[in-house]
Subunit: 616 residues, 2 copies
């Protein structure tokens, strides 16, 4: 019996690759990208419900074929964005296999962690190397010390002149005997100086690294295989220092108040790292002593509080760091009790308010080696801004306040379930999208930014930020006029969710500070915004903010969408890369050493630019 | 009026230089050296009261003129010693100016500390250098970190690439501000690797070093100016670890019993160093933070217990050290709380029972660079012996027990006031010399050694160490026969001070072990005792033992007196030299690395030699 000849049939299914999520799905040809993504559980924001009006479901076609742009896409995106490959997921349908890039700003909050895989690719070249060793045991004819026995063996394997810290030496005798005089000697591979023995792991064990982004509010940790480069686990926790001061300045004041307080702040930071290490090791079933290298990034105050460096001079003009070069210390010097004899690398800081986390973010987004003219922002209570042009880096820090974290906003809240993360003015009313699709209870940073931009677009706000009292969406309340975003009947707590003059003012101050910082750096380099090839926006808020809103209110310069890149936790990503690549450590030091820090408070043009940038 | 012409008259006074005490005195010509020395308060032992019989007041003429040897000198010293310049201080009279060397064995105990100035001379070349700096203070136009500001200044002064430990960085901000942005930067001058910033001292301050000889029983400390090399003060204390175990083996067992015990032993050693540092600084009015470098020498067990290295494998065959190379750590890594951010150097150890103190002693007596055939002994509970011949070093350790510290001896005691330090058989009876010239209450090590030698010479002991029951000086007591050294009426406590068979046996075991060790090393090198150019005997007991007694009972080989050198605390002296000379650190590492450790317990010839060496 001969088999039936193969029959070619038209593909009923099309393949859709969603990047950077890395999700590949098969869907019926002709589905919208939005429907396909939703069927795969990948949340793309679509405030208008897929009617092509709100523009929040923006994606970019990387490869393959989609149906031609609809009228709605032409209207919402404009010809420039369409030429860039930008499409609306609710309008574009699969005309065959396709790969689309979903920008961070188009992804709904629950997927946030999935975004952290961005950043430049690094060649795996970690600061340590595991060398398999098998030693002869001591006997009457060979009475070398344990350390000499191991170091001689390493020298035989072309690892000469390896030094060993006392802490590592202390662990050798029981380990060598328990492991039958065999194991994996982990040797550092320093860019300069002599190699050091870091640990002796059991035979076959994989050396691990721990990358930490020590934020003022949150601490993020990544457990990484130093042999494969794979991120084995990630976790986060609140910074326990919050109990001793909400923000950086209050913690500096607290540390200055007494040595005990400084010690408590230090111990708080250390304990959060310890507990994350234990959690990640437990979850991945890796003994904590496999962690042989750690990288910690944080702003200059967090960096100093963790390392026990004095912060008094950070809190007083001219706010200089105690130390700025990269540090490489033993974890024990930082009071880290769960990291055994691991070493701990802290990248350099640029200035008192431009820290190692910013340096890490700049590395992660390729700023150290780019030939482009590139701007990068870490938006937070302080916003660090860096501009690279013809290889020269300028950096500044601007006090943008906590409004984008939901603080100082009447209806503000953190980016938690029920927070309005996006607002659109559609068909004469405000529509909102909340985190977790719950009934709205308040506004997080990206929501309040949208609210201001959309209220302005609706005509409910003036250019100076006053509420237009006679506007249809502006109500009179006992506390003065308010723009109602969500009526009480639709809110989770039953009360109207409104935008008031004071809220708008906070946003004006914040965005004015950021834009003035950007403009000063551009002016210093003799550039205009249009000269920028790329703008990287990092941090939780920076990632989820709506670029149109940010450009509409003048917080960010008006540029094609394709010029923007929203990178998530760039600092954490940079920390992982610094674990995996010695070259990144070299670049970090170069970057920080060559950075031109621009102190805004002494720039005559800053105040003028700030006042001007406050306009909506 | 013309002045009277000058009249030349015979010198009424002669000048006498007493070495190594460094005392220069003027006395009437014709005085005996003994009388002259006594008039100057320099105690020379003279058991026979200056009658030329006991030979304990032996000195050597270095320069100048003494009266010709008397018959007593010819009889007691012999032609060989006289030809070597040896004289009896009670017989020799000043015939003009003279310089005499008073061997350690001829000096009475109260001067012991004065002997510690011996050792080879070193060129002042410490491991740190003080660089005067004056910095511009930070301002809007210069926002460098404190550390970068200082390190840039050092780079301008040709100290490039200086690193700084975190602990030093922590101290910089307050210091720079308190000192008005000036001071003395103390920079390490490592033999290999990058220089490190150690401290920032106030302008004009002298950097100090602390040398520590961490003995099992006593801890000696020397405070040294690293600019002049001068020893500013010295002090000693008991090792508080004694509370946790009398000897090395009991402390090892204790450390193995629990981590808490190991930590207490560590803390005990550290606290003794801390308290000596505080005492010396207080006495010399130097702030403890001027101490920027420390050297600690000790036997391998003390070295491990202080550094927190495991000792379990030291207590079990084959007794290997955890680590043997030189260590350079921060004082804080050793729990030293009073030494600020000083670094701490510990020389290498040679084997489990040949420690860093022995290495230091070998350096102090020039063993590292000699071309002579030279033997050096550190006599203690364990006696370390090293032989260098044609540049090759052989070392061993032999269990000589505590008899020479007065332990396990019926009438034994430590070398304290009232202890018999020397015994002579004169005119048919025993004469004794005590420490402090008090009524005798017991025997210290050198006293019991003399007692055995003199009892043997008197015929009261047989070659095998039995008491001759029928000898005039041997009494029958309820505990068996005893040789009476001091009758009760002359003793401080009213009881007879006697030597028993068991005491003699202890000394036989001790001296047999030492001599067998010497003989094994000589045999290993194919040498006989007569091939030795020099023999160095170190340690408190080794310094004050009577060489004739030690040779008489066969503990030390019979050689001309001039071949022997008794050097006091050679380990402490070596520690001081390691503070003052980088070259000594290089030599220490070479010495330890190239040492050939001879394990006596596996040598077939050791037992035979031991049995033979027990004979008196």
């Amino acid at each position: 019996v001969r088999p039936a000849p193969p029959v070619s049939s038209p593909p009923a299914l099309a393949r859709l690759d969603l990047q950077p999520l890395g999700r590949r799905i098969s869907v019926g040809a002709g589905s919208t990208v939005l429907a396909a993504a939703q069927s795969a559980g990948a949340g793309i924001i679509a405030i208008c419900g897929g009617s092509g009006k709100c523009g929040t479901c923006r994606v970019r076609l990387v490869r393959g074929t989609l149906t031609p742009p609809t009228d709605a896409e032409v209207s919402v995106l404009g010809a420039g964005a369409l030429a860039d490959g930008m499409r609306l997921a609710c309008q574009a349908r699969l005309a065959g296999d396709a790969e689309v890039d979903v920008p961070a700003g188009s992804v709904s909050a629950p997927q946030r962690l999935a975004l952290e895989g961005e950043g430049v690719a690094v060649v795996l070249d970690p600061a340590v190397e595991a060398v398999d060793v098998r030693l002869v045991s001591p006997g009457p004819g060979d009475l070398r010390s344990d350390a000499a026995r191991l170091l001689d063996e390493l020298a035989d394997r072309r690892h000469d002149d390896v030094a060993a810290a006392l802490e590592v030496l202390r662990s050798l005798p029981p380990r060598l005997r328990n492991q039958g005089w065999a194991g994996r000697a982990v040797v550092s591979r320093p860019v300069r100086g002599a190699p050091e023995l870091r640990a002796l792991l059991p035979p076959g064990a994989t050396p691990l690294g721990l990358a930490i982004d020590l934020g003022t509010t949150k601490v993020a940790a990544y457990l990484v295989s130093l042999e494969s480069g794979e991120v084995l686990g990630r976790s986060g926790t609140m910074n326990p220092q919050i109990a001793l001061g909400e923000d950086v300045l209050s913690r500096i004041a607290r540390a200055n108040s007494s040595a005990t307080s400084a010690a408590r702040l230090q111990a708080g930071a250390a304990s959060s790292i310890d507990s994350l290490a234990v959690e990640l090791c437990g979850r991945t079933r890796c003994p904590p002593d496999r962690i042989v290298d750690a990288v910690v990034v944080g702003n200059t105050a967090m960096h100093h509080l963790l390392t026990g460096l004095p912060v008094r001079q950070l809190g007083e003009a001219p706010h200089v760091p105690a130390a700025s070069a990269a540090l490489e210390v033993l974890a024990s010097e930082l009071g880290l009790q769960r990291l055994g004899s691991a070493s701990c690398y802290l990248p350099p800081v640029i200035a008192g308010f431009v820290g190692a986390d910013h340096v890490a973010m700049l590395l992660a987004c390729g700023m150290a080696e780019t030939r482009a003219t590139m701007l990068a922002l870490d938006i937070g209570t302080n916003t660090e801004i860096s501009l690279v042009h013809r290889g020269r880096l300028r950096s500044c820090s601007t006090a943008s306040g906590p409004a984008f974290e939901g603080a100082h906003i009447g209806e503000g809240m953190r980016a938690a379930p029920g927070a309005i993360e996006h607002v659109r003015y559609l068909d004469g009313r405000f529509s909102v999208q909340t985190i977790g699709d719950l009934a709205p209870i308040g506004l997080c940073g990206s929501g309040v930014l949208d609210a201001v931009a959309e209220a302005r677009r609706a005509g409910a706000l003036t250019e100076r930020g006053s509420l237009a009292r006679d506007h249809r969406l502006v109500s009179s309340t006992p506390d003065g006029p308010a723009c109602v975003l969500v009526e009480g009947k639709n809110a989770g707590h039953g009360r109207d969710i409104v935008l008031r003059r004071a809220d708008v003012n906070e946003i004006q101050l914040a965005k004015g500070a950021i834009r003035a910082g950007i403009d000063v750096l551009l002016a210093d380099a003799g550039l205009a915004a249009g000269d920028l090839d790329e703008v990287v926006v990092a941090g939780a808020f920076g990632t989820y903010l709506d670029l149109d809103s940010a450009m509409a209110i003048g917080m960010l310069p008006r540029l094609p969408h394709g010029a923007y890149r929203q990178v998530g936790n760039g600092a954490g990503q940079g920390a992982v890369q610094l674990l995996l690549s010695r070259r990144q450590r070299v670049l970090a030091q170069q970057l920080a050493r060559e950075a031109n820090y621009v102190e805004l408070t002494v720039r005559r043009d800053f105040a003028d630019r700030f006042v001007k940038a406050m306009h909506l």
